[in-house]
Symmetry: C4
Subunit: 192 residues, 4 copies
């Protein structure tokens, strides 16, 4: 019961995060192809953030799926993660309005970095509750993909000062690396 | 369980898509009938998009209803479809602000076209999971209505360059064709 | 199952309708009591519409509670009702920005009138599905309160041309008449 | 069943309250650290309000968890509480735009005060329904934390006229006092 409600609340916020980004997708200012083209960076930033929210949503789904109960600590770790997720729309908007500029690229990288860190903390709490030998702990394993992502976000934060385009590439590559849903967990789910 | 969450997330986004469109329904700028009249194209565009979201919501409801489990692939096909649905508010706003102009009509047509294509992909994935002889596969059958719609959106995309009004008529006619809910599926549901 | 999803979707939209109205509650333009006072009509319009959404939400809750299944027709009657509900934020904003002006008062009255009409149609569909002797049909009875409201909205539409303040009074009186939840239905629910 | 829907509606509104605050987090106006710094008070106000919504959400979760049925009165007490919660985004925006100014600090304090009062009324209704010897009544006990908060909000309202910074400190201290979820209730839940 309890888990359902945490799921519902998380889904609610994630759904709204996506649609706030839509809300910030302003229609072109005039009726011409060049005006449409000016909107393109904003559109790309939207696609990127949509992918990230989709990835987190699917993985959160797998992570929470096997939980039986929810503790107060877990609720707050979840709220902490949602906090950083909730900053994505503003980061996306700034990125889309100022393509290839250092500061917006930096801020976006920091937000993604903190999302990953707080998700990692949430994941650890879930493992702590479920036990080190639980199916969920085994399926996450050493979480190489998660840790690699965190390191890559760190690199993209540094590169945003010198070479914003490299940060962009990192953001897209990590996203694509995750779009394939966390098959390890899914497999574990199936075995149960 | 899993299906419930995909439903909840989809419903959340669709509900917000509708209300983002409401948010963009600005009140008239002055207190006169002529100001109200200026808002009329925006209102009509809202009615049209509301119908489309309603149609998709009802059909998605029927489509997902009989599923027993959800795979990672299905989650992503669903997210893909939601992505295109999430572009409807921006398309609607541009259409409402520039009635009978070529580019907004074109963009709106492309969005509807991609919604239909991605819904078709989602539908195929559901059939693949449920089996070719499942109730849902039989009820969808050859999906003549869906394929006709896709072709009509293609025509409306072309006609938007020459005769935007024809595209509008196509959009409304397809909507009306779908408002009658997918009775084939509903019948199949009842038989189970 | 089916009913749950219709409920979830309705709740989603109603929750967002409330919060879109919040979104339009702009903070005062300067830091003074007079600026706060200028926001007062907007605040009052918000309170009024909040009451209406609350009333409809509670009554919809009672109405749907006893349903066992949902037909395609019912889904569309529900969507029709939600359509009119979704216009409340725009009507509220215009009302709050132009207190005691004829046209905004008129538009607000028309929206409330159509909400009541479409709710009545939804109610009839529920009775049709449940049967004339069902608990829900008995608890609604002749629905004198609902019909009185529709007539009063009609009067307020007419009075908005001559005496907007009278329309305001009618809106508030009807709201207060409904805040007491539909005890007839609640009683019937309890007996089951 | 009934309780689920009240939960769903409350969660929906709370989720949207959080994200409306996100929506009002505008990206910096230019691409410079000083522009980012100008956004800092708005960001801090967002963090504070995020904490409050998180606290209320977690406590509401505990409060409602043990309820078996929902009365019409409870629905309206819940709607009353949500009403005050729904004013948080506007209060937060004004606070963030005008740091250390008297009136916005005052308004924010009044909103928090009314949230606490209406939550207290909701809590009493829950106790009334569940009985004085129920687990929930015992776990709430004399609610010293809740009453202390109400008194502190009262003090912060007064101090906002003379020393806004003191009000800010009070807001943050109360928030931190609550972040530790209501362990008394959680313990009681576990015993059941």
């Amino acid at each position: 019961m309890s888990r359902d409600r945490m799921e519902a609340f998380s889904d609610g916020v994630l759904a709204i995060v996506i649609t706030i980004m839509v809300l910030k997708l302003k229609p072109p200012e005039s009726i011409s192809f060049s005006a449409l083209k000016n909107n393109f960076p904003t559109f790309l930033a939207y696609v990127l953030s949509y992918l990230y929210v989709g990835i987190y949503w699917a993985n959160h789904h797998h992570l929470i799926y096997m939980l039986e109960s929810v503790s107060g600590r877990l609720l707050w770790k979840n709220l902490h993660w949602i906090f950083w997720m909730s900053l994505i729309p503003t980061g996306t908007e700034w990125l889309g309005l100022n393509p290839l500029k250092e500061l917006p690229t930096l801020l976006y990288g920091i937000i993604l970095f903190m999302c990953a860190i707080s998700y990692n903390m949430l994941q650890r709490e879930v493992i702590k509750i479920s036990g080190q030998n639980s199916a969920i702990a085994n399926s996450i394993g050493r979480d190489i993909k998660g840790k690699t992502s965190i390191i890559c976000y760190g690199i993209s934060i540094i590169s945003s000062f010198f070479l914003p385009i490299l940060s962009y590439i990192i953001y897209f590559v990590i996203a694509l690396m995750w779009v394939v849903p966390d098959t390890r967990i899914e497999k574990a789910n199936r075995e149960i």
